[in-house]
């Protein structure tokens, strides 16, 4: 490896000059001889040429990207759940391609080994009978799922996508700290971390020969596609749902790879076939990339408490109708105890030793190992044999002892359930601290995917970088940061993209059939957004009038207040909490379908929610509130505009639009019924025209406001986008294009109800419209919502 001399490094500006690795601990930037490793030089030269303000601005670009993209990590603390921003450590970890290649080859060997072990513990059990793996250990492994024993995977393979956590030890070699075979998270975070870091270092990233990640994902997606049974729909990503700490990432990677994001509830087993509930009935599916933990996948045969699974899934798997990536039960390999046996199993199954060692581990269920751990108990980390977290993740001090327990007593009482492990001293990598680079401990998460050409390692991944020098500080729950990992080649690297696949002809893919649950969420998103807008318009009119008269007892204000109360609003608050919770409901609905959403749309919605909360805390009744609400209305209109400008005209968009139309028509019918009666207060009709956003049109067409003129414009005028007839016609145009809208040339019951409603409205003379008729209309429109639900979401 080439390196610059000590003199040169001393010539560098202060950000590096003061950087001193710890005694006896390898460092990623500084080689063992004290010189800077060559791949780091361009980055350091770039950083050195920048002023502190320029560096701060660049780091800010990365943070801004992540905030705009809505990248978050759900953090479970004591009794609270919070979404925290993705903690980017801006300086990447840089590895030379030559070193990486050797590491990747070793990890591929390990992936092959894990597959072989998996095949054995769910198959012939030769490792038990040969005595290489203790039966008591496997029997006690909670992730070894008995209902899956003897079940051969349809694809021929158990493992398709795995991760490994690595650390560099004191001797400078890489060590595997743990295997992630169940449903590893983080690949999407690795992608986002890459995007953010490449923005921070935009000036040098392109010239730095950093291996790109897209080729790896493209190959994996090809594999998923290739495993499909002909005639089945697109590949799905089986998510653990909105409340999982990595849900954001699951939605992100599903969108990136073009997979349907499915929950267990979206799936149903018919006979032995797995199907997706869509708006067009049940559609077959044969490959699932699984991010849901095995135990939760089928409440009939696995954990009976699961509400996330698909009853009967195991029947489909046993019949070979569906490939799970990874196979159910793969979590068995993640336990700490396996680390004690994998070196021997590698010899046994592959006739070779492990190329990359794993952290030395002794299972105390064996006599000699138990004695060794007991004698060395002060030097070793003792932890549960069946735990699947790294000991350093469990506690900032790396201690795993239960309360009021000594290592001696623990070993005596529970030796069969314990392992001893070599304490890990991690290498350091530079992190940005107070304006200079400082060494911090780090681990690497590396991903491997099975592709049509065999296992491939993602050239990159992410590094967890501690906030302090304690090895335990790399656990994300204790506030570690995450850095990009750059694998740097000596010469220019290929630039693959998921959008351009070399060698394959361009083919337009039909959009997949919309899952019923996604349609349901889009529909309600439309309704919540429109309901919010209606509430805001009424509220603005209220506060505008209040600013003029300052008399809350005025009849007109009383009438509007009554309307607002029908939404459950408490007017003691200038911006009632009901508005904020309606926006929150929209955010929740949108969150469940984030894979179908543009980034801009999502950002606009989240921005609206936080603005509303802020305004809700500060605003004063009257003019202040009216103006603040105008800001919210503009933001909301911005969101609607983005959705309608940018959303692909697939079925999902239709459901969103239908939801908006229904809500708007319901609102209009209700408001009118309160504002047109003969006994309505003075100014009611003008206010109605204002909240209906039709002041100019009304003025042009009618001399003065009368109930007839208002009803004509707001109910019957099919050219006014605020009128009820307009909304009914818009709904009709969408519903006609939904699946099942006509059977044997007859309209569906939903289509018939809508046609009748529309005809009744279109043939109604304006002067015949009464408040009672409007109220009845309101309930008939609400009935359409139920019909949509029954037809498409049940």
């Amino acid at each position: 490896m080439s390196a610059v001399s000590r003199e040169m490094s001393e010539g560098l500006p202060p950000i590096v000059a003061g950087y001193r690795p710890l005694e006896g601990i390898p460092d990623e930037m500084i080689g063992l001889d004290g010189s800077i490793r060559a791949p780091w030089l361009p980055l350091l030269a770039h950083l050195s040429a920048l002023s502190p303000a320029e560096i701060a601005a660049r780091f800010g670009r990365g943070d801004q990207y992540l905030r705009d993209a809505g990248v978050y990590y759900r953090h479970y603390g004591k009794g609270d759940v919070a979404s925290r921003d993705w903690p980017l450590s801006h300086v990447p970890v840089i590895l030379a391609e030559s070193e990486w290649q050797a590491l990747a080859d070793g990890l591929v060997q390990r992936a092959e080994l894990l597959e072989a072990v998996m095949a054995d513990i769910y198959g012939e059990n030769t490792l038990l009978t040969s005595g290489d793996l203790p039966g008591t250990l496997l029997a006690a492994n909670p992730h070894w799922l008995r209902p899956l024993v003897g079940v051969k995977p349809a694809s021929g393979h158990f493992l398709h996508f795995i991760a490994m956590d690595l650390g560099r030890g004191e001797d400078g070699r890489w060590w595997v700290l743990g295997d992630r075979t169940e449903a590893p998270s983080g690949a999407g975070f690795a992608l986002e971390t890459r995007v953010a870091t490449s923005r921070v270092f935009a000036e040098i990233y392109r010239q730095s020969n950093v291996h790109r990640l897209a080729g790896f994902f493209g190959a994996f997606r090809d594999m998923l596609d290739w495993m499909r049974t002909p005639g089945t729909g697109s590949v799905g990503l089986l998510t653990s749902g909105l409340f999982n700490e990595t849900y954001y990432e699951q939605a992100y990677i599903a969108r990136y790879l073009g997979l349907s994001l499915l929950e267990g509830e979206d799936l149903v087993v018919e006979g032995q076939d797995l199907k997706v509930r869509t708006i067009d009935g049940l559609k077959p599916i044969s490959v699932l990339w699984r991010r849901l933990e095995s135990a939760w996948c089928d409440p009939l045969e696995l954990d009976e408490r699961s509400r996330l699974g698909t009853p009967g899934l195991l029947d489909a798997i046993r019949a070979g109708r569906v490939t799970m990536a990874n196979a159910l039960g793969a979590g068995a390999l993640e336990t700490q105890a396996f680390l004690a046996f994998l070196p021997r199993l590698c010899e046994r199954l592959r006739g070779e030793s492990l190329a990359i060692p794993n952290v030395a581990t002794w299972w105390c269920g064996q006599e000699a190992e138990y004695q060794y751990v007991r004698e060395n108990r002060h030097r070793l980390v003792i932890s549960r044999a069946n735990a699947n977290r790294l000991p350093i993740e469990l506690d900032p001090q790396g201690s795993t002892l239960p309360e009021a327990m000594t290592p001696e007593r623990w070993l005596d009482e529970e030796r069969h359930a314990l392992v001893g492990q070599e304490a890990v001293r991690l290498s350091t990598t530079p992190a940005w601290k107070d304006g200079v680079l400082a060494p911090r401990p780090m681990t690497l998460r590396v991903f491997l995917a099975r592709t049509p050409e065999g296992w491939q390692a993602m050239p990159g991944g992410f590094a967890r970088v501690g906030q302090t020098l304690e090895p335990g500080s790399i656990a994300m729950r204790y506030g570690s940061n995450v850095a990009d990992v750059w694998i740097v080649a000596d010469k220019p690297v290929p630039e693959p993209s998921l959008l351009r696949q070399n060698g394959t002809a361009f083919m337009r893919k039909q959009p997949g059939t919309l899952p019923a649950r996604a349609a349901d969420n889009l529909f309600w998103l439309g309704r919540y957004v429109e309901r919010t807008e209606g509430m805001l318009r009424l509220l603005r009119a209220y506060h505008g009038r209040l600013a003029e008269s300052a008399d809350t007892e005025a009849p007109l204000l009383q009438r509007v207040a009554e309307l607002l109360e029908t939404y459950g609003m408490d007017l003691a608050q200038p911006l009632p909490s009901e508005v904020i919770s309606c926006i929150q409901s929209a955010v929740t609905s949108a969150g469940k379908i984030r894979d179908r959403f543009s980034l801009d749309g999502w950002s606009a919605l989240v921005d609206l929610a936080s603005s509303a909360e802020q305004i809700g805390r500060q605003v004063q009744p009257g003019d202040d509130a009216a103006r603040a609400i105008s800001v919210l209305i503009r933001k909301l209109t911005g969101f609607s505009g983005l959705v309608h400008e940018n959303m692909y005209r697939a079925m999902g968009w239709r459901f969103l639009t239908i939801g908006q139309s229904i809500e708007r028509a319901i609102g209009m019918a209700g408001w009118l019924s309160a504002m047109i009666p003969a006994d309505a207060p003075d100014g009611a009709l003008d206010l109605m025209i204002e909240v209906g956003d039709s002041v100019m049109t009304h003025r042009r067409r009618y001399a003065m406001a009368m109930p007839e003129s208002v009803c004509d414009l707001m109910v019957l005028d099919s050219l006014n986008p605020r009128s009820i007839l307009f909304e009914l016609e818009r709904m009709q145009s969408h519903i006609e294009l939904l699946p099942g809208s006509r059977r044997e040339n007859r309209l569906s019951p939903l289509g018939q109800a809508l046609l009748k409603l529309r005809t009744d409205v279109a043939t109604m003379p304006a002067e015949a419209i009464t408040p009672e008729w409007l109220l009845d209309l309101k309930w008939r429109i609400a009935g359409l919502s139920d019909a949509v639900t029954d037809t498409y979401f049940a």
Partner: protein, 292 residues
């Protein structure tokens, strides 16, 4: 002894159910040297659900049912003829408890009857440490697992009172133990937890108990519904024994075996998932009549 067994099991739903899948573990199995299933028939109302039969990991017979049509109730009727052999008297040549652990660690295979499955935590018995003191109090130094089984069974009998209103199928064993009341499921899971707490492999057995006692004897609790008891592994030389903690007796030819598992979750007579809102009520009756 040959028996005719009739089981009726079902639910009535508050709202009709559109889709439902159920797994049934109700049909007695054949175990060489113990019992033989002569014939069985399972009738299901309503209509024609999709049906399949297979054996599970532990060798139990599983019927899977899938209802596609709307239904407001389901009703299952099993008629089975089983020949039950008398159990041989136990010759207690078991090792002491201390030596049994060595025998266990030397075992490597994990077939369905391997004792290794029945040593550790299981879905319904996640933690047996709270039962350790209770179990230890019933032990004397040098006891064999067979003696330990009887002694813990007797202690449990003294501690518990049979009460079919105190618990339900989801009551955790510790709650039933602390209340000192329960039914066969509670007795069995408490005994399993106590045995595992001292390192004796113990499993859950579901089955039937003959309804009418032989003349002059009292009708035993647990005969009106499916019954449950315990199997205990007593070392390589003795192997598995079965014990009925609800009646504090060794299992003999009045007990008809349906399934083996680690706890209730592995052998629940019916496990189902329906897409429904609202509640349900269940019925469950059993008749076990000796025939010839």
């Amino acid at each position: 002894m040959q028996y005719e067994i009739t089981l009726r099991l079902g639910y009535a739903y508050a709202h009709p159910v559109a889709q439902a899948r159920h797994l049934l573990r109700v049909q007695p199995r054949t175990v060489p040297g113990m019992q033989r299933l002569v014939a069985a028939q399972l009738d299901i109302e309503p209509g024609q659900p999709e049906r399949a039969v297979r054996t599970d990991f532990f060798g139990n017979i599983v019927h899977s049912l899938h209802f596609h049509e709307d239904h407001a109730e389901i009703d299952l009727r099993l008629l089975a003829y089983v020949e039950r052999q008398s159990a041989l008297p136990v010759l207690d040549v078991a090792p002491t408890l201390d030596r049994m652990r060595d025998e266990l660690t030397r075992r490597s295979e994990l077939g369905p009857d391997s004792p290794l499955h029945f040593l550790g935590p299981s879905p319904r018995i996640p933690d047996f440490v709270p039962f350790r003191d209770f179990a230890m109090a019933a032990l004397n130094p040098g006891m064999s697992p067979v003696e330990a089984m009887r002694s813990i069974g007797a202690a449990l009998s003294a501690h518990m009172e049979f009460d079919d209103a105190a618990t339900d199928v989801d009551t955790p064993p510790l709650a039933a133990f602390e209340a000192g009341r329960g039914v066969c499921q509670d007795y069995s899971q408490i005994m399993i937890a106590s045995l595992r707490a001292i390192g004796i492999p113990a499993g859950y057995v579901s089955g039937f108990l003959r309804t009418l006692p032989p003349p002059g004897e009292e009708r035993l609790p647990g005969a009106d519904a499916m019954h449950a008891w315990v199997r205990i592994w007593c070392g390589n030389s003795v192997g598995w024994l079965e014990y009925d903690p609800t009646n504090a007796m060794a299992v003999a030819d009045d007990h008809i075996l349906v399934g083996y598992g680690r706890d209730y979750a592995d052998v629940a007579p019916i496990r189902g998932v329906s897409r429904t809102a609202g509640g349900q009520t269940g019925h469950h009756t059993v008749d076990v009549i000796p025939v010839g």
